[in-house]
Amino acid sequence: MGLHRFKPVPSGRMGVLWTLSTIRNAAIIEFGCMGHMLYTGVALKRAGVYNACKLYSTHINETDIALGDTSRLEKVIEDVIERERVRVIFLTPSSIPEVIGIDISAICEGLQAQYPDTCFVPFGCGGFDRTQHQGVQEALTFLVKTLPKDMGRTQLPTFNLIGSCADLFRFQADADEIIRIMKGAFNMDPLCILSSDVSVEGIERMGGAHINLIVRQEGKDAGREMEKRFGTPYLMGRPYGIEGTANWLMKIAQLLDMEINSEFLIDEKEASLGRIEEVMPNFRRIVRSFPESATLSLGGHADVVKGILSYGCDELSFTKGICWCDCQDMEDEDIPYLSEDDWSKAVFSHDKGWLMASGEALEWSGKNTNMQISNPDTKWRIYPYEPPFVGFRGAVHLANLWINSNDPD
């Protein structure tokens, strides 16, 4: 990892914790120093997560480390079960037990017999070579392997949204837009929003959904797992742009062999296009007369970057600027992973075109922070009703950002 000016790529442990932290009617207990859980709680509040999973830490001291003593964990579990009466307790790894080699899974096995009415779910991904994205992937996969109960399909068609997690910028608004268009296009309700808006009971009911919509790569294994166990089809991808969203809905229709509510689709497309049409002459002029200003430079989660880029390039004829993703495992020829040195050079030297990246990068380089599409964030997000980036409304929102940005022209 080495020297950083900005926040480093978070660890796998953090990815696990952020994924679990939004699940209601559960508790997370971290065996480790208390500061990490305290600040995770602060970071979650800043991201707009409240009233979700109950967060506990055990703390750990020198004697515990020297003796490999895990009795603190057992006492905390006893206390939490007595007071909270939660049915599920997630046990998450932290850095010190990882170094000294405490086996949380083995401890869980012993505890499970002692507390048969509580489900203990130990998480791995504690290793020092694991990143946030691997942590999110592991948490999503483990959740769908562990908690869903056997059940048949719901009578009315329903869907699960897998991968909407608190680590993604504007996760609540994007999830709300997907729920809205699924309702409009198919009259389908969500069964489980994994994991940004769900309870333990919601995860248990996941097997009843007719389709799993996987909105980030890290959810692919979870989708496969659900397909294997429940035969539920899944669709990978995030719906960006007007045509992009319409195509995404078509794919769902094909997978489910269902008709799209054509009235809804036509209305949404017309309403979105009608609004964007007002500024299309400006966009066309920029593309024609100032091509260097009609470039999109994007940095963030690979799926977000690809989605916004395809909307801008395919539907509005913009061109690709410097684009990068924040995870080495997700890089490809089109969207490489850039180290801090490389992305900060790109951001600081950015001159023409639109630049959309993390709040931290935009703020520190003095660029337009309204163009934030990814985390790390620098602000509080207690208001969850901001405009989305995905769906029909997201398409209009992005066009609105681009036309109001001072960067081009």
Partner: protein
Amino acid sequence: MKSSLLRLKCLSEIKSGEGIPFLTPDVSPGTHCPMRMASVIVEDIEGLSSLLVGMPECTTHSRLFSPYPEGEKGELHWLYVLDSREVVFGCRDGVMEALKKMEKAGARSILLIATCIPDLIGEDFEGVIQEIQSELSIRVAFVMLGQFKNVSYPAGSWKTMEALVALMQRQITVSNGVNILGRSPKEEHTPLPSLFPFLERNGLKLRYLAPGASLDDFCVAPDAVLNIVVSPYTQPLAIKMQKEFGVPFISLHNCYSVEEIDKAYEEIAKQFNLSCKGVFDEERKEALVLEKQAANICHGLKYVLSLRVDLPLPLTQYFITKLGMKPLLLHMEEYYPEDKNYAKSIRKSGYDPLVCRVVNEYTALQILQELSPDLGIGYLPNTNDTFPWVTDMFDFYGQVGYGRSNAVLKRLLCAVNKSSHFSKGGTYGTSSI
């Protein structure tokens, strides 16, 4: 005693901060990490750069408190994140390289802040700095702040302040120079103790050393003829400055009673051949009146001390000896070396209260109620419908002298006088008001 309190220890059994038991086994949300205090302090010292060494967790969260990688005066607040190889084999080479890069980027002096994992793997930063110092033209200090060794946040403050001694340089003593350790030169909220204007009127040159001061101020601080300590977080700094540079110190933060304050002020005045006679009469007289009034009203009241009380043992000694109050339980965030003497004195007075760390502020109140106290002092949420509470105590941090004692006593009296529990004859206690 109820089962939830059985895990606690009495004051006489506590020998160090690590020995203070948690009130509850579960921690939620717990207390700040010492790293937080170090991050906040370095960000507020003009000219001082920092390198925080740790895992992605610590380095990411440090940006909550120190959000900017560069300060207004070119300070660098950079992060060094250990990879999986360095967790096993150490981060010596990487950190040395990072320090060189920071020097090249313009850092004037660097405080290296080591968090849990570098502390756990026993990285020898003293050795690292010794080795690299000859290749650098800037000074580097370090502080080890693994939370597994430093349970709560005060260690982050006092160890960071103490570590700054390594950046100080021996100076020719200035005969009228006095350092005020623990008060910021830019202080806006904490009232100025009347002692300091008095000293300035008499020709002394005061230098305020705390976050808010500049690195230059810290570097030349050994030129003072006396250090006056106004915060528990700067007492270790004063002790180290005395040891390294021979600058004597007088502490004011532990003095609550009129006699203690009289003695400390006289000692300071004596150093400079001054006389305090009549100077502080008004506030001193008020303190005597309030002490008497509080002794009448609070005598025999059983109390618990909760979160955000700076100096639980000096305050408890004061409450016992001057007001006749009875301590039941004390939340202690830190156990300072001086606390041993206060603990002894409290024991001599016939009390041995329970001692704990409140780490789950949401459940603490219910447990404290089992002790049936008459009064609570310090912060806890939802104390409105219980026994009387003096919830705001944290704003006394940095205050000293008669003024602080007066303010503490007024707040105490206000809570007790306001309470219906006492006007009805003492629902929770035996004392009559």
